[in-house]
Symmetry: C2
Subunit: 200 residues, 2 copies
């Protein structure tokens, strides 16, 4: 555990902290404590707190893009593809919640780092839009504006996967089984939202 390169360990711990508590609520000293190291060690690898954050975002973006591009390359179609992606997002939410937490942190309105993340995921977004357009043209999805549809899909999927506090307020338990049920309910919801009149 400790023999992983220090730089990587810093990035991993920082991702967790920034994704959970946010950027400004996480001090370098707190990170250093968690790492069993002095804060100057962190500043040796990353010239400033902001630079560390940027690196964390770059790293996380690469992970996210990899997950989605691998999935997209499998070339499923219509609802099946979307179902597969929902499954992936939920797997991420369960296995690496900090990753989606970081996305939430970075996409806060007015965030300066948002543009950085946007740059990384732009090609993936483009592909997703193209996919939606193609499927609509082929009559496998209800037709609508692909960008706006993508926004709705993004909000719904990421929200259902990450809005833990809203779920608590609604009395939805955080157990794994309940999460699976939530995912299936979400898929039914999306299926209905996306289906053409003919498709089941």
């Amino acid at each position: 555990m400790t023999d992983r390169p220090t730089r990587e360990r810093i990035l991993a711990v920082a991702l967790g902290a920034y994704g959970t508590d946010g950027f400004s609520a996480t001090s370098l000293d707190a990170l250093a404590d968690q790492l069993g190291v002095r804060k100057q060690t962190i500043l040796y690898y990353f010239p400033s707190k902001q630079a560390l954050f940027d690196a964390v975002v770059d790293d996380a973006a690469a992970d996210l893009v990899k997950v989605f591009d691998e999935e997209a390359s499998r070339g499923l179609s219509g609802i099946q593809q979307i179902e597969a992606i929902v499954r992936h997002v939920f797997r991420l939410a369960v296995r690496r919640p900090e990753l989606l937490g970081l996305v939430r942190e970075v996409t806060r309105p007015g965030s300066v780092t948002a543009e950085r993340l946007a740059g990384h995921v732009a090609p993936t977004f483009d592909r997703a839009r193209d996919f939606l357009q193609r499927e609509m043209d082929a009559g496998r999805l209800r037709s609508s504006d692909p960008s706006m549809l993508l926004l709705s899909l993004y909000s719904t999927v990421v929200g259902v996967a990450t809005e833990l506090e809203v779920q608590r307020a609604l009395g939805l338990p955080p157990s794994l089984r309940a999460t699976v049920a939530r995912r299936q309910e979400l898929i039914r919801f999306l299926r209905a939202a996306l289906a053409t009149e003919s498709a089941s």
Copy 2:
């Protein structure tokens, strides 16, 4: 403008700052500067930074609950009621974006203040769930688990209304006209997601 009671001015400015930059990125000195006052004046009205935040959350929750309860009391049914609520949320997003920004801040996973907000909106959530159940029983909405459906609706509506950075990344312009288009597209999306087979 300046003759509004100081306490209220503090709450208003704090709502804006907490809703935009977040709790820990907003110092009492920054608030005081914005108010043209010393920070000790703030600490006269609110014993601590956390107490001020709690008061802001209480205030915001009251506003939110009022908006929704007024709307709910009009007794629309089915999709019409949901459309009306979507319209209200978008109006809030345009007119008082800090309010939804604060909700986003407070519902961050692990937030300690989440419970406070949850306490305020619990009755409203209950009513919403009851409404959904009733409409399902009456065959006006596709049947499913009301709590999970509410979670999906919440995520989609709040997301589409507040995910400004994702919208930018998708190339969706922030103009008012575009916002209206987004709202209408969202309503089409929800209509499809919620309709029973028979309803148009």
